[in-house]
């Protein structure tokens, strides 16, 4: 009996993996049905549906990048304090002295890559017409995930608290100020007024809600930190689960019907 076989036949191994080694046809089916991580997949699949030149792999890559971002993000959270006093210097330390400082590079480049792969995934889904019935709703979920990916990237942009960060967020959040009805400099805010007092001012409008103040400041950093590390990832994780579940329920991955 070889060592590999000995390990695979041990009680410990068998208690972890609920299936024998996938070496024959029967067990290759069993492994897909009984393994938690693999059960997202079906047991068998059409050959052309998984051809690389057909799927481009972009949805899977996006999901993998999301996991990379989550992992590196958690590691970065151990180092980083979201306060005006420390935010910049913690990032600087990640660059100059911390051992695993490259986590920040991987996190940032992974984020750029994820924005691109989400677009490319959507591009492929459009070009193969995979949004057509019965998959219409999953396309809508996909658009929501696209928006949330951009928002994740946008909220993360502020955290290094350097010039690049706050001015990019200032440019972006100036849009909120111009929100129709809800922005202090948007059309129609004058309508929302009570007994001659404006309800929407620069201390109560959409921009104020986003920034937690009139300008990008400490409250903004806190808000964006929570959004970036907790709030948006939770929503994204939920939507990803729905997205994958619907892929399976709506006829599997795209292929000629």
């Amino acid at each position: 009996m070889s060592v590999g076989e000995y390990i695979r036949n041990s009680q410990i191994w068998k208690s972890i993996f609920r299936h024998p080694a996938p070496t024959d046809r029967r067990n290759r089916v069993v492994v897909m049905l009984t393994n938690f991580f693999l059960h997202l997949h079906p047991v068998s699949i059409k050959q052309q549906g998984i051809a690389l030149s057909y799927t481009w792999c972009m949805g899977g890559i996006t999901f993998f990048l999301f996991l990379v971002e989550a992992l590196t993000g958690v590691l970065l959270m151990f180092y980083y304090r979201p306060t005006l006093e420390w935010a910049f210097y913690d990032i600087q330390a990640l660059r100059d002295v911390q051992t695993l400082g490259i986590m920040r590079e991987i996190h940032r480049w992974g984020a750029h890559a994820m924005v691109i792969t989400v677009w490319l995934h959507m591009y492929r889904v459009f070009l193969t017409g995979s949004y057509k019935p019965p998959r219409e709703f999953n396309w809508v979920v996909g658009v929501l995930l696209l928006v949330l990916t951009l928002l994740l990237s946008f909220t993360g942009y502020l955290l290094p608290w350097d010039q690049l960060a706050i001015w990019a967020i200032t440019v972006g959040s100036n849009m909120a100020r111009a929100h129709p009805f809800l922005g202090g400099e948007g059309p129609g805010f004058q309508i929302l007024n009570m007994g001659g007092y404006d309800l929407i001012t620069n201390a109560s409008d959409a921009k104020f809600l986003l920034l937690g103040g009139r300008f990008v400041g400490e409250a903004t950093l806190n808000r964006f930190y929570i959004l970036h590390c907790v709030a948006i990832p939770i929503v994204v994780a939920g939507l990803i689960a729905i997205h994958f579940w619907r892929v399976r329920k709506d006829g599997g991955i795209s292929q000629p019907l």
Partner: protein, 457 residues
């Protein structure tokens, strides 16, 4: 000593490697061409009977020599000869450094991409285009200003994206044209041939594993090669010029040139997202589900590509690489001079209208104060009435007219509600190009300009 040298030792060294990679790529291509492409026909003067691969062999040899020249020239970058000449750079900047020409150019490219799809999907053509753009990139890297903007770590993914998107678009058109032919000839689709079921273990899970490993390697090397940017600590009193949004929002920031923030930053993004979500519900075409095809879905694909290429990717490239201080437009080889002045003397539609000789003679020019009905609001609305009428015609009257005339086919298939949603989304999509053209042709600022209410269109 020039503080902004076009070439330095490290640039030469990097370019040497770049040309060496190009050499290896073309060496492989030469071998491939030797096997597949055969010889020039006997009737071709001089080249008759010579393998086609000769051309690629010559290119490879040149690339190898260029690479060697770069490696050996690192000691004296100032006198190095292989660089873009000024007589090339200056006209390129002078001619292309203009949003009009840039946008028109992107439209022409878009049109050519679809019109000549059968031509550019050919292996040799696509390879030549790829090599051409890579060599152009390498030569341009010898320019200081080009390197400053394109070589910025945050901008590297955009350059990579351009190549990846082009490659994937090439794959799409290749497979789509193939399927178009198959449908015409009544043969089964490419996706339907050899389409037996296979087990996910091992056929898919191993692909996924390899993909994950490769991506991890790419990310780690990318992280080692390029440092994430970190500028000076944030300061709310020192505004950088230009202040740019994150790169993926630069298409939206570009719209700010033509629209007020409430439209460019809130309404139009909302419409883009709403429009994307609406796609499956307004596309009534049942064909083209699960395979690449062009002719069966020509309208849908063209519309989507129009939104993706000229209106999204091209604007991101414009915003990232070509917008400089004061949001002025700069050529790719041009210095970002803060003092560059561009005359902006834009006029509202109302000023055009009331200043028109005939109208001005009858009504005595633009209505002011409370001249109309003794009410400032009524006067304001009268002042802006030409624009308001135009907007109303565009969004409320034009869709039914289109539905009864040129788009009758769609109207009949879609039903009234679906058609109105579709036509309004299509009209919204045209809003940006229309405003651009109006701005360039007539220096038009606002179609409706009511700054009192922040309501400017």
């Amino acid at each position: 000593m020039n503080p902004h040298p076009d070439l330095t030792s490290s640039v030469l060294h990097g370019l040497g490697w770049f040309y060496l990679i190009l050499f290896v790529m073309n060496l492989w291509w030469t071998a491939r061409s030797y096997k597949l492409d055969g010889e020039f026909s006997k009737d071709t003067p001089i080249l008759g009977g010579v393998p086609v691969a000769t051309i690629w062999a010559v290119l490879s040899a040149i690339l190898l020599m260029v690479s060697a020249a770069h490696f050996t020239g690192t000691s004296s970058p100032d006198t190095f000869l292989i660089r873009l000449p000024e007589w090339f750079k200056n006209p390129v900047d002078a001619f292309f450094a203009d949003p009009k020409i840039y946008f028109a150019g992107s439209l022409v490219l878009f049109w050519a991409m679809i019109q000549f799809r059968e031509w550019w999907i050919k292996d040799t053509v696509a390879w030549s285009l790829l090599q051409g753009s890579l060599i152009f990139l390498a030569l341009s890297m010898s320019d200081y200003d080009f390197r400053q903007i394109v070589g910025k770590p945050d901008n590297v993914p955009i350059v990579a994206m351009l190549f990846i998107v082009s490659f994937l678009t090439w794959i799409y058109f290749r497979r789509a044209c193939d399927n178009d032919r198959r449908i015409e000839e009544g043969r089964p689709l490419f996706e339907q041939e050899n389409n037996e079921k296979v087990l996910v273990w091992p056929d898919l899970v191993y692909t996924e594993l390899i993909c994950m490993v490769l991506l991890t390697v790419v990310l780690v090397f990318w992280g080692i090669a390029l440092k994430a940017p970190l500028e000076e600590p944030a300061s709310s009193v020192k505004t950088p010029n230009p202040s740019k949004a994150p790169w993926y929002f630069l298409g939206l920031q570009e719209m700010l040139v033509y629209f007020d923030p409430w439209l460019a930053g809130v309404v139009l993004p909302g419409i883009i997202l709403g429009g994307l979500m609406a796609i499956p519900y307004i596309d009534f075409n049942k064909t083209g589900n699960g395979y690449y095809v062009f002719k069966e879905r020509a309208f849908a694909v063209t519309t989507f590509l129009f939104g993706f290429f000229p209106l999204w990717i091209a604007l991101i490239v414009l915003g990232t690489f070509l917008r400089g201080p004061n949001w002025n437009f700069y050529g790719i080889y041009e210095v970002w001079d803060v003092h560059k002045v561009e005359a902006a003397n834009n006029v509202n539609l109302s000023e055009f209208f009331w200043g028109f000789p005939g109208i001005s003679a009858i009504y005595g020019g633009m209505p002011k104060g409370d001249a109309f009905l003794g009410s400032p609001v009524a006067t304001m609305l009268l002042r802006e009435s030409p624009g308001i009428v135009l907007i109303f015609l565009y969004f409320a009257v034009l869709p039914p007219i289109l539905g009864l005339t040129v788009l009758r086919k769609y109207f009949v298939k879609m039903g009234i509600f679906r058609f109105l949603v579709f036509s309004n989304l299509a009209l919204w999509m045209a809003v940006l190009p229309i405003k651009m053209v109006l701005r360039w042709a007539f220096s038009l600022k606002y179609i409706v300009g009511i700054p009192e209410w922040f309501f400017n269109i």
